[in-house]
């Protein structure tokens, strides 16, 4: 009998230790955080809300009430709690704008949309944590040197690919940006840039523009005016316009 009890207890230990055994949904599972590189969970949440066009309705030391206000005719309110171990989500309300009665069919709000919007926000928060983990590791000089070496010595195709990837994931690490600035400065006035090189420097400039850091505006303006390649000048003019509009 005692062994039977032990077996039952063991099964309980197994299931309680398995974090993924609990009921959950694909769009609002809690995100685990590592305090080594996520020193301020609230900052990560606020940054992500801004990036996804959400507003902050209320805020306390451990919670942010996020508000997607009149988005495509809907209003969604989420409670985002954070502690030392995780960021968790709870939907507080979801309705069509201007609708108070839930019973009316006109006011019925499909969860298809809200689930998606919640997932996008969750993904954005997870992505910002991912980037912080990378930033933390780049403090290690050897890792940083190896990574930047690729940006320095890689061929045109590799550098272009890397720049496109930085734009794609919106990863604007200060060390990478400094290296990119150095390479643009050294080359944009060169006489004979091949078409592949023009592409590469255009993407380098696009990285700077997308970072939305004011300190790069001067260099971008110079490139748009003084680069020998007309194509490069035109590309960068476009990025500056995009930067001014955002």
């Amino acid at each position: 009998m005692k062994y039977y009890k032990t077996l039952l207890l063991s099964i309980f230990v197994f299931f309680s230790s398995n974090a993924f055994a609990t009921e959950r949904s694909w769009f609002d599972e809690p995100i685990k955080i590592n305090k080594t590189y996520v020193t301020d969970a609230e900052a990560v949440i606020l940054e992500s809300l801004k990036q996804r066009g959400w507003e902050v309705k209320e805020k306390s030391a451990t919670m942010v009430t996020a508000w997607l206000n009149d988005y495509k005719g809907y209003e969604l309110v989420l409670e985002i709690k954070h502690d030392n171990a995780q960021i968790s989500f709870k939907q507080l309300s979801y309705k069509k704008v201007g609708c108070e009665s839930k019973s009316s069919s006109r006011c019925k709000a499909s969860t298809k949309y809200s689930n998606k919007w919640r997932l996008y926000l969750r993904k954005n928060i997870a992505m910002n944590i991912h980037k912080r983990a990378m930033d933390h590791l780049l403090k290690n000089e050897k890792i940083r040197r190896t990574w930047l070496e690729e940006l320095k010595t890689g061929n045109i195709e590799f550098k272009t690919k890397l720049a496109r990837n930085l734009i794609d994931i919106e990863y604007f690490n200060e060390y990478a940006l400094a290296e990119i600035v150095e390479q643009i400065n050294a080359n944009y006035q060169r006489n004979k840039l091949s078409s592949d090189e023009v592409q590469q420097y255009a993407f380098f400039c696009k990285v700077l523009a997308r970072s939305k850091q004011e300190k790069h505006t001067e260099l971008l303006t110079q490139v748009s005016q003084k680069a020998k390649s007309r194509k490069l000048r035109n590309y960068v003019k476009g990025y500056l316009t995009e930067m001014a509009e955002s």
């Binding site: 005692k2 230790s17 995100i31 983990a133 990378m134 990837n165």
Partner: protein
């Protein structure tokens, strides 16, 4: 007798919390499984000579290089990272384990079309969708590629 019971429970708890050492993939032919080449493309070990921190950075960096859907960090610990692949309500959780010698991708969980039908210690012998092996292959190749630079 109580002591024996406590010992058994502690042993189970310990076996769940500690991580087995990574060893080269040995496909058990007696398992219900898909083709070996698919299993290898996803779960074969990657040999490396880098430090733990370098491996960690290579995995994080490789996870974001895919052109379409990225693998995003979900959890981490001393010798592992959990990455999540998210696309059209389908989700794959992969635990990337590493030690001084090897890196290995292990199936952790999935939603929708990518559930593993035969999961043996993180090696998915048979998945609902063969595409699972394609996505895992992409991640594994990206890690190899990043480490080789």
């Amino acid at each position: 007798m109580k002591m024996v019971n406590l010992f058994i429970i502690a042993l189970i708890g310990l076996s769940l919390s500690t991580q087995a050492e990574i060893s080269p993939l040995n496909i058990d032919q007696s398992q219900k499984k898909t083709k070996d080449k698919y299993i290898k493309s996803a779960h074969d070990v990657i040999k490396h000579k880098s430090s733990q921190e370098e491996v960690r950075f290579a995995i994080l960096s490789a996870a974001l290089t895919s052109k379409s859907v990225k693998w995003i960090l979900e959890d981490d610990g001393d010798n592992f990272l959990v990455l999540r692949w998210d696309h059209s309500e389908a989700v794959i959780y992969t635990k990337v384990e590493f030690d001084e010698q090897y890196i290995q991708l292990k199936y952790l969980d999935a939603y929708d079309d990518y559930q593993c039908k035969n999961n043996v210690d993180g090696i998915c012998y048979k998945n609902e969708s063969r595409k699972y092996y394609g996505h895992m292959k992409d991640l594994r190749s990206a890690i190899i590629n990043t480490l080789s630079h």
